[in-house]
């Protein structure tokens, strides 16, 4: 259906990029698209895309337009394809998966799951004004990403319309899904996404601390996030943001902005001297002994670092005000200043240097503060809020992006790239820009999908690679080395320090073979396929260009190119891998069942984190990690009537070796698996069918 109304074209040709907002307030109108269409079905969308490409018309896909990086922008000739009429919802709580049309609004999707007692676990501040398709297309993150992961961790499948008008569905572990997630409409148009859903937990358990300084606060956070059960929420506030966060609970802080902006660099210096204490807020979804044990462990870590215990109050305040921030930008804009946010990701040991570098770079034209709100075992996001004079907007962004990149952070953790950060994409990819250009050429040779976004289309550009380290990085829980190393040698290096790669089953195999075949290890199947453990790759592209991708816990800088780099004609020499803490105690549940897959599915549906699982014939083995009091409390709650013991995964049925697997959601898994099939890594949404099992 073509929407010919010129006013709709005007409204559908932009997103919430602050530069657009500033332009509006200054009386400037943005260019509009030539047409807007709103297909009512995937079939209609496919026809629209095919015809537009055949006619050589640039296409800009539109969800709810809540992006803040200019992914939606037009110059007058584009066809905007509004995907909001794709609103199918199918929540299958029995199988732990939900299918959403790309146009479903985020809150409606979450509410649909809540009605059957489940949650997606994805709570971006924009949940009320963003679509599910937009979450995936921009590689977004929710406020509870520490527990649920970012959207790339939650999304187990998707259907997309490709520029030739064909429709394709891809599942987790495939190169296609890796490249569709985060493509920002430059490679394919997402039409449906399949999200893993989990049972909702009732209540919260909060704790909070005041750390003497930022370094200690970050140290505490990096240790707390490695505890199990993992915290859903872990936020560190810098000194200024700490004052503000605490003032919420006290009822308000004085107004400061005009005079702060009079001398932003002086404010930065004075603030650093006067304010040092930092707030740390930790929260677990759920109430009861398991969460009390987790809180006790967290309190012990913080106490050992001389942090002062603040109780649950700051966490409860956060919960009550978690969506307020987006409202608060408005008055700053209207009072003649800009207010914008900038989020980056980096390993734990780079967090403070990146924070200092970016704030210093921002300070000539703006004041800033930050919080650290998406914590992972191997790093964290830094979320900067900055405000300055309007004429300093572009220069401030340029300096901030360069400072973050130079200091070792990815230029986006979850907002995406759009056009705002497009110029930095070449540096961001550390020589692998050619792989992105290759992907674009394969999907969209005419360069018609969202031109300008991600800096595409483009010619390959060569820049120095990001160079990794060597060996075990204890501070970040990472290992980096050549692909010729054996998995046994890697485990021997990291196990004595309490870490594991989760690849002990194939000790003689090289890392290169493990990654090339993308194996899944039944002894640590919760960790997923081999490639999901890859943080960064170094090598040379097929044309001889050296590359080294950014080491960061997560990113939102376009498609995931790692499968392409590993599969294609490119040559990978070294890899940086994410490690996990090796559990020391186990609860091993096993038995013979008429339908072991159903038993496994029922176990996964409880929402419990399963470390490893193997279904073979009628036999089911499940291992629950019991390394911490919290984990033990959770594991002890599991009702299991069959056999059980405390043996570790590698002590039982040692004949299992890592093999290539294919992730399938439950329904497809049940259809594909024959009686002799081996299925590993069962989780809420499905499991991995091992190829050549039996």
């Amino acid at each position: 259906m073509t929407v010919s109304n010129p006013f709709e074209r005007e409204a559908a040709s932009r997103d919430l990029w602050v530069r657009n907002q500033i332009a509006f307030l200054q009386g400037q109108s943005a260019p509009s698209a030539a047409d807007v269409v709103r297909p009512a079905s995937v079939a209609e969308l496919a026809v629209v895309v095919k015809e537009a490409v055949a006619a050589g018309r640039p296409i800009v896909p539109l969800g709810a337009g809540s992006g803040v990086c200019g992914a939606i922008a037009c110059r007058g000739e584009e066809l905007v394809i509004d995907l909001k009429a794709l609103t199918d919802i199918d929540v299958d709580s029995a199988r732990g998966i939900a299918r959403f049309g790309a146009g479903v609004m985020g809150r409606h999707a979450e509410e649909a799951c809540n009605r059957v007692g489940f949650t997606i676990g994805h709570f971006p501040s924009s949940i009320a004004c963003s679509t599910v398709g937009g979450w995936v297309a921009a590689r977004g993150a929710g406020q509870l990403s520490s527990r649920y992961g970012k959207i790339e961790d939650i999304c187990v499948g998707a259907t997309a319309v490709l520029p030739d008008g064909s429709t394709q569905t891809a599942w987790r572990g495939s190169r296609e899904l890796a490249e569709w997630i985060g493509n920002e409409g430059t490679l394919a148009l997402l039409t449906e996404v399949y999200l893993r859903i989990r049972p909702q937990r009732q209540g919260w358990t909060f704790t909070a601390y005041m750390a003497p300084n930022l370094g200690i606060a970050l140290k505490a956070a990096s240790l707390i996030i490695r505890q199990r059960p993992i915290a859903s929420l872990l936020r560190v506030y810098d000194p200024i943001d700490s004052r503000i966060a605490l003032s919420h609970s006290k009822g308000g802080l004085a107004r400061k902005l005009p005079w702060m902006l009079a001398a932003p660099r002086a404010i930065l210096t004075a603030g650093d001297l006067a304010l040092r204490k930092c707030l740390v807020v930790v929260g677990w979804e759920g109430e009861g002994p398991a969460w009390d044990a987790a809180r006790t462990a967290s309190d012990a870590i913080a106490g050992a670092l001389a942090c002062r215990h603040l109780g649950s109050g700051p966490g409860e305040v956060w919960l009550a005000r978690r969506h307020d921030v987006s409202f608060k930008q408005i008055a700053v804009l209207r009072s003649g200043y800009f207010a914008d946010t900038f989020e980056v990701g980096c390993p734990w040991t780079r967090v403070e240097p990146v924070y200092n570098a970016v704030r210093k770079a921002i300070s000539p034209g703006a004041v800033s503060m930050a919080h650290f709100s998406h914590a992972y075992t191997d790093g964290s996001a830094i979320y900067f809020s900055m405000a300055g004079k309007l004429d300093a907007y572009d220069a401030t962004w340029t300096r901030a992006l360069k400072a973050a990149s130079d200091a070792g952070a990815t230029i986006s953790h979850h907002h995406g790239v759009g056009r705002l950060k497009a110029q930095r994409m070449i540096d961001e990819l550390g020589g692998a820009h050619g792989a992105l250009v290759q992907a674009k050429a394969e999907y969209d040779p005419a360069g018609l999908l969202n031109p300008g976004c991600l800096g595409l289309p483009s010619q390959p550009r060569t820049v120095p690679p990001h160079v990794g380290f060597a060996g075990l990085d204890v501070g970040n829980g990472l290992w980096c080395g050549p692909l010729s190393d054996t998995l046994g040698a890697i485990e021997a290096t990291v196990r004595p320090r309490g870490w594991t790669l989760g690849a002990a089953a194939n000790a003689q195999q090289t890392l290169g073979a493990w990654l090339a075949n993308d194996l899944i290890d039944p002894q640590a199947s919760q960790l997923g396929n081999a490639r999901s453990r890859v943080v960064a790759l170094e090598g040379t592209l097929a044309d001889g260009t050296p590359f080294g991708t950014r080491v960061a816990p997560r990113f939102a800088t376009g498609p995931d190119l790692r499968p392409r780099l590993l599969d294609g004609d490119h040559h990978v020499e070294r890899a940086t891998l994410r490690l996990v803490r090796q559990p020391q105690h186990w609860r091993h549940l096993y038995g013979e069942f008429d339908s072991p897959l159903d038993t496994a599915r029922a176990m996964a549906a409880t929402g419990i984190d399963i470390w490893a699982s193997v279904v073979k014939g009628t036999r089911l083995d499940i291992w629950l990690a019991c390394g911490t009091p919290g984990e033990r409390a959770v594991a002890n709650k599991v009702d299991w009537s069959a056999q059980q013991d405390e043996s570790a995964p590698d002590a039982v049925r040692g004949a299992h070796v890592a093999r290539k697997g294919r992730f399938l959601p439950w329904k497809e898994l049940a259809e594909a698996a024959d009686p002799d099939a081996i299925i590993v890594g069962v989780e809420a949404a499905g499991g991995w069918l091992v190829e050549g099992g039996r």
């Binding site: 509006f24 709103r38 008055a331 700053v332 209207r334």
Partner: protein, 230 residues
């Protein structure tokens, strides 16, 4: 003369209220998102960058959901109403004085909050009477909804309402009690012209599609260039 602060605030807001607006949700159209409607109101009131799009000003059910959701309880519907009256007046009235001019450039708790608005912390509040600092001049205290359906509606209108279940987009449909023709209102918006008890005409194709889905085969919904029946 400066523009009303509330109108500009909405115009550059993050659109968090978009999924509680029945017209935006069911119509899908981007221009019917409350903030986009307020951009049009801004244009009517003299802002150079907005577009004067009367459909946006009319596409409001007066349900108040956006104001309930808004952290600052900005009274969107009264502002749209005021802008519409100005736009439709034969001799356009000058823009009203800025009722919230004093509210800007204040920085308070946390980050940046308008001083004359009270941040909302709890669940949605009752919709405030239109006498606050963000309200347009002469705005009514609350939208009145017609409860005299049985007294005024014709058989044809009753048949249509029966087919639609008396509601659309969660909002009550009511007969246009003052009009000469058989029309239905949803809140303040004039949505449907009743041809007879089984046929209606709608100008907005999105609304038409939604009405048709609501009514199924009990009602024939035609899309017309205007709300007048052919």
């Amino acid at each position: 003369m400066s523009l009303p602060g509330a109108v500009l605030d909405c115009s550059v807001c993050a659109r968090l209220c978009r999924d509680v607006c029945p017209v935006a949700v069911h119509g899908f159209a981007e221009r019917f998102v409350p903030s986009e409607k307020m951009r049009s109101a801004a244009a009517v009131l003299g802002h150079p960058a907005g577009v004067v799009d009367l459909d946006r000003l009319r596409a409001c059910t007066d349900c108040g959901a956006c104001s309930d959701y808004c952290l600052y309880s900005v009274p969107v519907a009264p502002w749209l109403d005021a802008a519409l009256k100005i736009a439709e007046a034969p001799d356009p009235t000058p823009p009203p004085a800025d009722p919230a001019a004093q509210s800007i450039s204040a920085v308070t708790d946390g980050m940046f909050v308008m001083s004359t608005c009270t941040p909302k912390t709890g669940p949605a509040r009752e919709r405030p009477a239109a006498t606050g600092p963000n309200d347009p001049p002469g705005a009514p205290a609350a939208a009145s909804r017609s409860d005299d359906f049985d007294k005024t509606a014709t058989a044809d209108v009753k048949a249509v309402l029966t087919a639609l279940g008396s509601t659309c987009c969660g909002q009550r449909l009511s007969p246009d009690v003052g009009g000469d023709e058989l029309r239905l209102r949803m809140g303040r918006a004039m949505l449907v012209t009743v041809v007879d008890g089984s046929t209606v005409c709608v100008k907005n194709p999105d609304c038409a599609a939604h009405l048709q889905r609501c009514a199924g085969d009990r009602l024939q919904v035609r899309v017309v260039a205007s709300e007048d029946p052919p």
